[in-house]
């Protein structure tokens, strides 16, 4: 355990695309460099409403004690976060959770659904062999397609799908994954996105008998493994997303 409770100064908090924001933070004390896939719990109000911290995965580490979070404005918590100004300090707990494992393979396939791209960018950046990286990204529509420039610079191949066909293939990220996942020997999948998408990624991985690591989500109160609120069902009983996860081997998960 190496999590800390610390204050972080907001270096910038700007729109990444409509509805999406990128916040850059500088920790006011030394923290352990997080592993991609780990997350932070941010307190959004010093009063009592909203009461609970909100979990955000690491997007990218940008140098000593500085990191970024990419988020979608979805509810009250993210709305408040989006209104925090440059120069303000916020209360952060982390890094938390296990993070993606570091594995060797002939091909690393990163599968993102919407804002699920957030932790996968950080993962791709820390991978040694960028020529073995394939990105599969799904969005609802073109204006929501974020991080394309960064992904194009990093990965050997990039495939995009949008539900309305306004960018890339029309359909879901699973459609393009199925179409393009050939030559799958020694391939590892890393995925983050909505639960339904992750379930279908797991189906794909099972069919091809390959490894897949999924970033799971569940409502969470403490992030420290004490409230037992964020459990998901696994082959070994309930496991805590905040402690045993958020990254799980897809074979463990009981959908």
């Amino acid at each position: 355990m190496n999590e800390r409770l610390f204050k972080a100064r907001v270096l910038e908090n700007t729109p990444a695309s409509p509805g999406y924001m990128l916040i850059s933070l500088e920790c006011l004390e030394d923290i352990k460099r997080p592993i991609p896939g780990q997350f932070f719990m941010i307190r959004l109000c010093s009063g009592n409403d909203p009461l609970l911290r909100r979990a955000f995965s690491l997007h990218a580490w940008i140098g000593k004690n500085r990191f970024q979070i990419l988020y979608r404005i979805k509810g009250i918590g993210t709305k408040i976060l989006s209104e925090i100004q440059k120069g303000q300090t916020i209360d952060v707990l982390g890094p938390l959770g296990n993070g993606f494992p570091k594995r060797k393979a002939e091909r690393h396939v990163l599968v993102a659904g919407g804002i699920g791209i957030a932790p996968l960018i950080g993962l791709a950046e820390t991978m040694d062999e960028k020529d073995k990286l394939s990105f599969f990204m799904g969005f609802r529509t073109k204006t929501e397609a974020i991080c394309l420039d960064r992904v194009n610079k990093m990965a050997a191949s990039v495939s995009v799908a949008t539900e309305d066909g306004s960018l890339g293939q029309k359909g879901t990220v699973i459609d393009i994954l199925n179409k393009n996942l050939n030559n799958i020997k020694s391939t590892i999948i890393y995925a983050c996105g909505p639960r339904n998408m992750l379930k279908r990624v797991s189906d794909v991985a099972l069919r091809h008998a390959i490894d897949a690591y999924l970033s799971m989500e569940e409502y969470m109160a403490c992030g420290l493994g004490s409230c037992l609120g964020c459990v998901i069902r696994t082959t070994q009983g309930y496991k805590r997303v905040c402690k045993e996860g958020p990254i799980f081997d897809h074979r463990e998960i009981v959908w």
């Binding site: 409770l5 307190r43 009592n48 009461l51 911290r53 409502y219 420290l224 037992l228 609120g229 459990v231």
Partner: protein
């Protein structure tokens, strides 16, 4: 230096700040962030004879100034608790209180007997709203409360604390029965039965439909019940319900609580217990209150 020690039955606490069961794990979850030596006592997550899986997710949801939970007492069971969790807790200079839950009186008795020599006090959970049988099935029935406490009292020597439910019509009656049956102290309140609905899906926001409400939303209810209970018994009351900071804790002390427990605040601010201890001391120093006993039950009305 102000004096903040208090006694709960035969249990002497260096300060009145305790962790509420189920909000501080088995202590180890917080040991990187909190100096456990500074706590008056740690109440461990409720334990049963056999490990329990708990309820399916979603188990929690946020509500105005509070949260609902229906964890369903997921726990490692008494064997693992004694073998793996207690030795860790015992490394610290703080009191360890076990919170126990059974389906039958016999189960409570067995738990109490096995824990009697290894913990400092036993808290009887007769108020968990999230399990079938056991728990609140005892806590809502005066006769069963009486019988249970009486049986456990005979089996265990250590300080016995009964954790009462707010989901009853007259908390005073349960307080009196608990005292008369041999309980050394009372803990209150457990969570308030509640529910929340997602209006888009028309589904409950918890898998178990109903859950227990905790957090600042319930604090005034808790203060009222601590006041009602402490007026009708001589045994000490441990007050809890939405304590986020020292001012909240002092409100409970004034209402009649001898000690207080910090619960949901541990999820929001892992250092809440320490801040409450420091804040109480600061309040006393500023107000020239030398002994915390001068705050307890100090309500003027």
């Amino acid at each position: 230096m102000v004096r903040v020690e208090v006694d709960i039955g035969r249990l002497h606490l260096k300060n009145p700040v305790i962790t509420a069961s189920g909000t501080f794990g088995y202590g180890e979850e917080y040991s990187d962030l909190v100096d456990l030596n500074r706590l008056g006592a740690i109440v461990a997550k409720g334990i049963s004879l056999k490990p329990m899986d708990g309820n399916p997710p979603p188990r929690i949801c946020e509500t105005p100034c509070g949260m609902l939970n229906s964890i369903g007492l997921q726990n490692v069971g008494i064997d693992v608790f004694i073998k793996e969790k207690l030795p860790f807790l015992r490394r610290y200079d703080t009191r360890i209180i076990a919170n126990i839950l059974g389906n039958t009186i016999e189960e409570y008795v067995e738990l109490a007997m096995r824990l009697d020599d290894v913990v400092d006090a036993i808290e009887l959970n007769i108020s968990c709203p999230n399990v079938q049988g056991g728990g609140i099935a005892f806590g809502r029935d005066l006769r069963m409360t009486e019988e249970l406490i009486f049986s456990v009292r005979k089996a265990a020597k250590k300080t016995l604390i009964t954790k009462l439910s707010p989901n009853v019509s007259d908390i005073g009656e349960f307080a009196k029965v608990s005292e008369a049956s041999g309980s050394d102290a009372l803990s209150l309140i457990n969570t308030v039965m509640a529910m929340s609905i997602d209006i888009k899906t028309r589904r409950p926001r918890l898998f178990s439909v109903m859950g227990g409400l905790s957090g600042p939303a319930i604090r005034p209810i808790a203060v009222r019940m601590v006041w009602e209970a402490s007026r009708v018994v001589r045994i000490p009351v441990i007050g809890m319900g939405g304590i986020m900071k020292a001012e909240d804790a002092i409100e409970f002390l004034l209402a009649g609580a001898t000690a207080i427990a910090v619960g949901t605040a541990n999820f929001v601010n892992p250092r809440a217990t320490i801040e409450v201890i420091e804040g109480i001391e600061e309040f006393m120093e500023k107000g020239k209150i030398d002994n915390i006993k001068d705050l307890i039950g100090g309500l003027i009305c």
